[in-house]
């Protein structure tokens, strides 16, 4: 039984894409929707998303953001008001042409992002410098018609949050762009135990309509990069297109400066591919739907279930998300199932443990098992969950750092990315050289390093204007 269980997941080293598919489907995080490219987020996956939402809501609120909700459908004419924006998104939009039994006068886009519609409303609401800054966030479904899709990573419809704000000055909007990127980075570390690289994106990789895009990139198990969050400084591009004007203290009418930022259900893909192992998911404790599973041993014996329930109640009271698996399956089957589902801590509790006033505590991240005294169980388990989160972060960080390679030639670059590394290299700043790297090594520029250390461009050899992280990416 146990062997069968493990064997159902493809080999993580030799077939990582299949491993990912096996894991997300078999752990019931997600299923394929009937329309090509769509996904159904099942309860176990959605609970992770809800935990992510809660953590972000706390952070956004602390930064002055209020949640709101804007319409799904955007008139096609709005999209075209910002020239770069429509060029970037038009190929991906889904279009409603008929509604209520009639053909619509103007086709409506299903939002691929909401700068245009939120910009329109901001243009209506903002009048005076007293109204600024405006900071709003929305949790919503988004549609981008993609040719190649994979659950969580790239789907026609996904869930996300998008923050949008308006400031009186460029400096404030630029500072906010950085600040929200830092919020993302701190979240990734604290809540997903996931180290990231952050920095500015090149012109080629920036958001359609932005002045500058900043991103965070995470290294997946196979050494490929996953863009996990972006923050855009939009300058006055959208305020001019959508007439977001205010009367300043000096009485003059001025355009505001806007920025936006977003993360999506892709983060669930990111945490899976950062931490997973051959047995399945390894969930970061902060967002795990079940943090502790209690498996009763010799369940039918008197007092076993009662003791499991008493322990569960103690943990619950301490704010720990705990589940008792009192199903008919064998303990071995349960161990495998909950390991596959990535629950950070398993507690085994049987008659002998109970008699000795102990429990067997098993970590998902290291497979360590320890007999632990029952006294202060809640404090010990809470501390252990913190320790697991830290260990998962350190392990992932060590891997990422080991696999960042400085290279000086395209051949070195190709060889390094072939071996699953990120590379750091100089870049002259021209589009041709960026394209050449991609053509040569199927690697794209991820972010520019804040520390500019490289001397010459990896491609043309001229003076490097930036030091860039290149990688293959999802």
């Amino acid at each position: 039984m146990e062997k069968q269980f493990v064997a159902q997941i493809a080999d993580i080293e030799s077939d990582f894409p299949q491993w990912f598919t096996d894991v997300v489907i078999k752990t019931k995080l997600v299923d394929y929707g009937p329309v090509k490219g769509t996904m159904v987020i099942r309860p176990y996956g959605y609970a992770i998303w809800e935990n992510i939402q809660n953590e972000f809501n706390t952070r956004f609120q602390a930064n002055g953001y209020e949640n709101a909700y804007f319409p799904l459908l955007i008139p096609m004419s709005f999209m075209t008001k910002e020239a770069e924006h429509v060029e970037g998104f038009a190929p991906e939009v889904a279009v409603v042409t008929h509604a209520g039994g009639e053909k619509l006068q103007e086709p409506l886009c299903v939002r691929p992002t909401s700068e245009t519609i939120i910009g329109t409303m901001f243009g209506k609401w903002v009048e005076s410098w007293r109204d600024l800054p405006v900071r709003m966030n929305q949790w919503a479904n988004i549609m981008r018609w993609e040719k190649t899709t994979r659950p969580f990573l790239r789907t026609s419809e996904f869930l996300w949050q998008e923050g949008h704000s308006v400031f009186a000055t460029a400096e404030e909007a630029e500072t906010e762009t950085q600040k929200m990127l830092e919020v993302y980075e701190e979240f990734a570390k604290t809540c997903l135990s996931m180290p990231v690289l952050t920095g500015r994106k090149t012109e080629k990789e920036k958001f359609a309509g932005a002045v500058a895009t900043y991103g965070m990139e995470a290294m997946m198990h196979d050494g490929k990069s996953l863009q996990s969050g972006t923050s855009h400084y939009l300058g006055q591009n959208f305020s001019k297109a959508f007439d977001i004007k205010f009367t300043d203290k000096d009485g003059a009418q001025k355009y505001g400066y806007t920025m936006s930022f977003g993360v999506s259900t892709r983060l669930i893909g990111a945490l899976i591919m950062t931490h997973g192992d051959q047995r399945g998911l390894v969930l970061p404790p902060v967002v795990a739907p079940v943090q502790v599973v209690i498996v009763p041993i010799a369940m039918k014996k008197e007092g076993v279930l009662e003791n499991c329930r008493a322990l569960a109640n103690r943990l619950k009271t301490a704010g720990i998300r705990v589940k008792i698996d009192d199903s008919d399956n064998s303990p071995g089957w349960k161990f495998n199932e909950w390991e596959m589902k990535g629950v950070p801590v398993r507690i085994e509790l049987g008659p002998r443990d109970i008699e000795a006033g102990k429990m067997l505590v098993c970590r998902r991240d290291t497979f360590e098992k320890n007999e632990v005294e029952m006294d202060n169980a809640e404090t010990k388990i809470a501390a252990l969950l913190g320790e697991i989160a830290d260990n998962m972060y350190e392990k992932a960080k060590e891997r990422m750092q080991k696999r960042i390679v400085d290279v000086k030639t395209l051949d070195e670059l190709l060889s390094a990315v072939d071996q699953g590394n990120f590379v750091r290299a100089g870049w002259c700043g021209c589009r041709e050289c960026e394209d050449k790297v991609k053509a040569f090594a199927q690697a794209t520029s991820r972010v520019m390093d804040k520390a500019h250390t490289a001397k010459s461009c990896i491609s043309c050899g001229k003076e490097a204007k930036h030091t860039v992280f290149f990688a293959r990416a999802y």
Copy 2:
């Protein structure tokens, strides 16, 4: 200044529709979206929705429901699998015909409700009696193309929750249908201070595809009814259309029995029109975004703001949602604004109050003002919020009960609904008589009374099979 403030809201008695529009727009609950019939839910309105969501999540979880997320787009062919269902919803759907720059092979509906797509997934997931019951809930945006729209009450796009479950037997599914209606009724009472009538809907008014629909109806300020939540027993209609089959304990393949239930952002409209008065909103304390507003008096005087902040912190610690209005506006302006915004409790705190160790506590529901000792402020305010919730409920209940009139003839019925009443009358059960009531008095059957007391049909005079509540409705 104060006069101006009040004057901006239309008269609640003589022009209730305009009063509603004025209130929802001026309190910044909502704004009109650019696409006809859509709304933007602004932060003050969205915060109410989030409080509603939290309250429901607790209740749904206690009843075994797990949240999940299903795709927005439904293949047109799914809609047609249940004959009545497609007939009911086809005229209202918005249709995506193009995506990714191409015409789609099959047009896709933007979900008007999700029985068909969730049914399809349940059909895939349910195999054995061990998989039952299935209980899932989703929070989602819904689109129904309506000709006449009003913010919160009827919009092309709205937010809702839809619960869907599958059981092995008809009895279980029927019991669940009732149980979730009771959850709605308890929620309306506890969280919205809103009394409702509940009962079965007539065939004419039931959900397209249901065996039976149960609804809750609330009486608005003008005596019209607002359908505020529905629970549908779907029998095997959807399980047969979507192949939701299971192997029972006896080894036989059987179709499951399904039910579904939903409430929407319409509830925000319901609470506004139940409790509002000439000064604006009167928000039920449980879902009010701000439960207590503290208005500093002589704000610039030493110690005033500090004392306001200390009080706010005490209330916050006790779990009360509190805000200090330290803006530059005059106290009078602030009183009016927060009254319009419906904040249940206003606390005025000035130098004399502080010296006396007191605060002036003002209720939004009764306009009572009391000097209250600062000791145990948090306990007193928490108790007062409970008292306000109860009082709002009792007041609304008394109004509703007074305005339910038993009638025996169509003339009596017309006269009663003209005066803003609900009527209770006998009905033979035939569609013609139901239609006749509507044609004669523009009143529709809302729900059937659980206590069947009427003797003869209001329309044809034959024996009454049901006692029905008729009313004009939103």
